[in-house]
C-alpha cells in the first residue's frame, strides 16, 4: 500500500512538474565583470546568469551561446596550455587533469522541480581545456554536485571568435524525475591559477596571464550577450555591458 502511495505521489509530482513546464515563462539575466579593469592588460573575466520562471525551476537548458567583444584576448589568454582527457575527467575527476589545463572555476545552483516543492542544489564548476581536432580551443565545464543529488556532468564548449558555445546535456536526477535544471551560474575565466613550465630541465610554477583587455573600450562599455536554448525549443536572450574602466 505504501509503495502504491509513493508511486502515485511521484506520478502526481511528475505531472505537476510537466504542467509547470507547459506554463513556463522564462526570464534570463546576465552579468559580466573584469578584475582588474585596466585597458591593455590581462584580467580575470567573470560571467554570470540567472534563469527564472516565476518562482518555479526554469526549464532545462540544452545550450548557451555567450557573446563577448571579439577583440577580447580570450584565445591569447595563455589559459589551457595542456589538454585534459574528458574520459579521464569523467572517470577519475579533476585530479586526472594537468594543472595547465585548468582555465577557470565557478559555481551554479541547479534545481529539481517537483509538484510540491523546488529542490535546490549548489554545485561547483571547473573549466578545463580538452583536446582539439578542428583547431578551435575546446573546453569542458566539469559540474560536480554532492547533495541531494550526487552527480558529475561535463558541459562541452568551444571558444569561437567573440563567442563561447556551451552544450548542456540533460542532467538526470533519479528515475522518473524530470531533469535537473540550471537556475544560475557564475563562471570565472582565469583567476589565481598555477601552471608549470620546464625551464632548463626544471619545472617552474607560474601564473598564466589571463584574458587580455583591448587598449580601447567601445562607447557604452564592453558588450556581452547570452542566448539560452532550452530543451523543447524555447530560447531566451539577455545582454549586458561592462562599463569602460576609468582612465588613470
Amino acid at each position: 500500500m505504501s509503495r502504491l502511495c509513493v508511486c502515485l505521489a511521484l506520478a502526481f509530482a511528475l505531472i505537476g512538474g510537466l504542467q509547470a513546464r507547459a506554463d513556463a515563462k522564462q526570464a534570463a539575466a546576465i552579468d559580466a565583470s573584469f578584475a582588474p579593469e585596466r585597458l591593455g592588460s590581462a584580467t580575470t573575466m567573470s560571467l554570470g546568469f540567472q534563469l527564472t520562471d516565476g518562482g518555479r525551476a526554469p526549464a532545462a537548458l540544452s545550450s548557451m551561446q555567450i557573446g563577448f567583444p571579439v577583440d577580447l584576448g580570450l584565445a591569447t589568454s595563455g589559459l589551457g596550455v595542456a589538454p585534459c582527457s574528458p574520459g579521464e575527467l569523467e572517470a577519475v575527476g579533476p585530479e586526472a587533469c594537468p594543472a595547465d589545463s585548468k582555465m577557470g572555476s565557478g559555481s551554479a545552483t541547479v534545481e529539481l522541480q517537483l509538484a510540491s516543492e523546488t529542490v535546490k542544489e549548489n554545485v561547483s564548476l571547473e573549466v578545463f581545456a580538452v583536446p582539439s581536432k578542428d583547431g578551435y580551443l575546446h573546453f569542458v565545464v566539469y559540474v560536480s554536485g554532492v547533495r541531494p543529488v550526487f552527480a558529475q556532468v561535463l558541459f562541452p564548449g568551444v571558444v569561437l571568435p567573440g563567442r563561447l558555445s556551451v552544450l548542456v546535456p540533460p542532467i538526470p536526477a533519479f528515475p522518473e524525475a524530470p531533469d535537473i535544471t540550471t537556475a544560475q551560474m557564475r563562471l570565472t575565466i582565469g583567476g589565481h591559477l598555477t601552471y608549470y613550465e620546464r625551464v632548463h630541465g626544471r619545472l617552474v610554477a607560474y601564473h598564466p596571464a589571463g584574458v587580455g583587455l583591448p587598449n580601447s573600450c567601445p562607447q557604452g562599455g564592453f558588450p556581452f550577450s547570452a542566448t539560452f536554448a532550452f530543451i523543447g525549443g524555447a530560447k531566451e536572450y539577455a545582454r549586458t555591458s561592462v562599463p569602460c574602466p576609468r582612465r588613470r
Binding site: 591593455g40 583536446p131 583547431g135 598564466p208
Partner: protein, 165 residues
C-alpha cells in the same frame, strides 16, 4: 684615269665599309653591353627570401599581440609583427622587415595546430603588401611558418618566397 678613278672609288668604298664596320661594331658592342645588363637586372630584381625571426613580446591589445625581433637569412634585418589570434584556427600576422636598403611589408595567414599546446605551430601563405627604398616595388608572396608561445607570447616565424621588385 679610270684606274686612278677606280682606285679612288675603291678607296672611298673601303672607307665607307670601314666606317660602317666601325658603326656596326659600336652598335654590336653597345648591344652586347646592354644585353648582360638586362640579364643582370632581371636576376637582381627577384629577392629570394628565406628568413627566420625570433621575436619577443612587446605589447598586447586583447586578441592582438605585437612582437619585435631580428631576422636572419637572405634578407636580414629587424621585424615587427602584429599577430591576431581571436579563437579562429586561422591566425594572421602582418609584419614589416627592415633590412639593408629598404623594408618589405607583408601579411600572412596560417592554420594553427594544437591550440591547447603551450606552443602551437602555424603554416600558411604570405602576401607582400608593400615596400620602401630599394624594395619600393616589391610584390609577390610565399610561405609562412611559425610557432606561437602561449606563455611568453614570443613568436618564431619563417618566411620563404621569391619576391620580384
Amino acid at each position: 684615269m679610270s684606274r686612278i678613278g677606280s682606285a679612288r672609288d675603291a678607296g672611298f668604298v673601303a672607307g665607307v665599309v670601314a666606317a660602317l664596320l666601325v658603326v656596326a661594331s659600336c652598335l654590336l658592342a653597345a648591344g652586347a653591353a646592354g644585353a648582360p645588363r638586362r640579364v643582370r637586372a632581371n636576376a637582381a630584381s627577384v629577392l629570394t627570401v628565406h628568413d627566420e625571426g625570433h621575436l619577443h613580446y612587446v605589447h598586447a591589445s586583447g586578441s592582438v599581440i605585437i612582437d619585435e625581433g631580428s631576422v636572419s637569412g637572405s634578407f636580414p634585418g629587424s621585424v615587427r609583427v602584429r599577430f591576431l589570434y581571436d579563437g579562429e584556427p586561422e591566425v594572421s600576422a602582418s609584419f614589416t622587415i627592415t633590412g639593408h636598403g629598404g623594408s618589405i611589408s607583408a601579411r600572412g595567414t596560417g592554420m594553427l595546430s594544437s591550440p591547447t599546446s603551450p606552443s602551437p605551430s602555424f603554416k600558411g601563405r604570405l602576401t607582400v603588401t608593400g615596400g620602401s627604398g630599394r624594395y619600393a616595388h616589391v610584390h609577390g608572396g610565399g610561405e609562412l611558418f611559425g610557432v606561437y608561445n602561449r606563455r611568453s607570447y614570443a613568436l618564431t616565424v619563417q618566411a620563404i618566397g621569391k619576391l620580384p621588385y
